[in-house]
Amino acid sequence: MQRIPIKLAKAGMVLAKDAVTPEGQVLCGAGTSLSEELIARLKRQGVLVISVQGHPVRLPGEMVLSEKLKELDRRFSKVKDDPVLRALKHLIGEHLVIEEKGEEFLEKLKKGS
């Protein structure tokens, strides 16, 4: 799932969560596939950000997955010997993979290694 400004929405993207206005009004539900008309309507109604399935947009300054994982390693470099924190790092890494590539990809990765 990725959260993107409505400006970057494209037809064909699928909502991962309900599209809501800043006031909290729900305009259309999770699972809806976006069309040009729908995007225009959401903009008109004041929607600013939406959550879409997958990771279709690379936001400015956003790292690619491999860089994100490298950064994660670097952040944990002083606490490598702590088993609890090692487990925490592992779970965050898995979360990053799932967010970008989906659950199935992670399962395949686990089987492959």
């Binding site: 600013l48 925490l88 779970l91 967010e99």
Partner: protein, 281 residues
């Protein structure tokens, strides 16, 4: 400079915005046992700027109320007076923080978010109080920066150069850490001990004289928010975990997974919130 001198400097803070005058009035009113949330709310609402700031904070995603809170008295009923008072007392300092150190501002909001998620899972009576402790846990850093700018710069430079934790450099340079400094301030403001101790002991929660569970949550949330790489707590490293504190609040692997996913989602909402503030500011 020794501890006594630092304390003296802190007692006489010049460069930080002073406490809003409304705070002493509110303290007096709260001492009166008959006072109601409605009456208190009315006093606060006379100050429109403060009211709008306050409502913005209480409606932000780290408290996570499903419905919009639209009046101050509602906010007092839902979050408790301790939280409201803390938000009022610290509102000007947060403005300073936002302007001078966005990374730390985000670190603070993120830590508050993590605190709320964990506190709710542990069925703590007033989880908003724990979020608030998380929100202000690093206030000592802001004070350090504005009150002792030369020392602060030396600390940052040394930490960077040697690749060490800020907290260790603070101890080495001025003899006290930002946790203690935050504790001194929180006491000056007459915040309750359930907020003072978690701030003061957020690096060594098991040494807190009381409220060890809240201190443990703030301690772990501080670690967690750095672990996911949100905001900037001064140096880029995940700090060491106190295992005594972890035993107190420990999460299973699958609970941890859920917490990470929930945190990630809330942090995205939080980005909208900080973006909103930036746009307005």
């Amino acid at each position: 400079m020794d501890k006594a001198e630092i304390k003296k400097r802190l007692n006489d803070i010049q460069s930080l915005p002073t406490l809003p005058p409304i705070v002493s009035k509110l303290n007096e009113m709260v001492a009166d046992e008959e006072i109601t949330a409605v009456k208190l709310g009315k006093v606060i609402e006379k100050d429109q700027v403060l009211t709008s700031k306050l409502l913005k904070m209480v409606n932000s995603s780290f408290f996570g109320f499903p419905q919009r809170i639209s009046t101050v008295s509602n906010a007092i009923v839902l979050l408790g007076f301790n939280v409201i008072k803390t938000l009022i007392v610290t509102s000007s300092i947060f403005e300073v923080m936002q302007a001078s150190d966005v990374g730390l501002f985000e670190h603070s909001l993120g830590c508050a978010t993590a605190c709320g998620i964990i506190a709710k899972r542990r069925d703590i009576k007033n989880p908003e109080e724990v979020s608030t402790a998380g929100l202000i846990h690093d206030l000592g850093k802001i004070v350090l920066r504005s009150e002792l700018p030369d020392e602060y710069e030396a600390i940052v430079a040394k930490a960077k150069e040697k690749g060490l934790y800020m907290r260790d450099m603070e101890k080495a340079t001025i003899g006290v850490g930002h946790g203690e400094i935050g504790g001194i301030l929180a006491r000056q403001w007459n915040l309750p001990e359930r907020l003072v101790f978690p701030i003061e002991y957020h690096h060594k929660p098991e040494q807190a004289p009381d409220f060890k569970e809240i201190a443990a949550i703030v301690h772990f949330s501080d670690i967690l928010i750095r672990a996911v790489g949100f905001g900037n707590g001064g140096d880029p490293w995940v700090p060491p975990l106190d295992h005594g504190a972890w035993e107190r609040i420990k999460l299973t692997k699958s609970q941890m997974k859920e917490v990470i996913a929930e945190l990630d989602e809330k942090l995205l909402e939080l980005q909208d919130f900080t973006l909103d503030i930036k746009v307005e500011g």
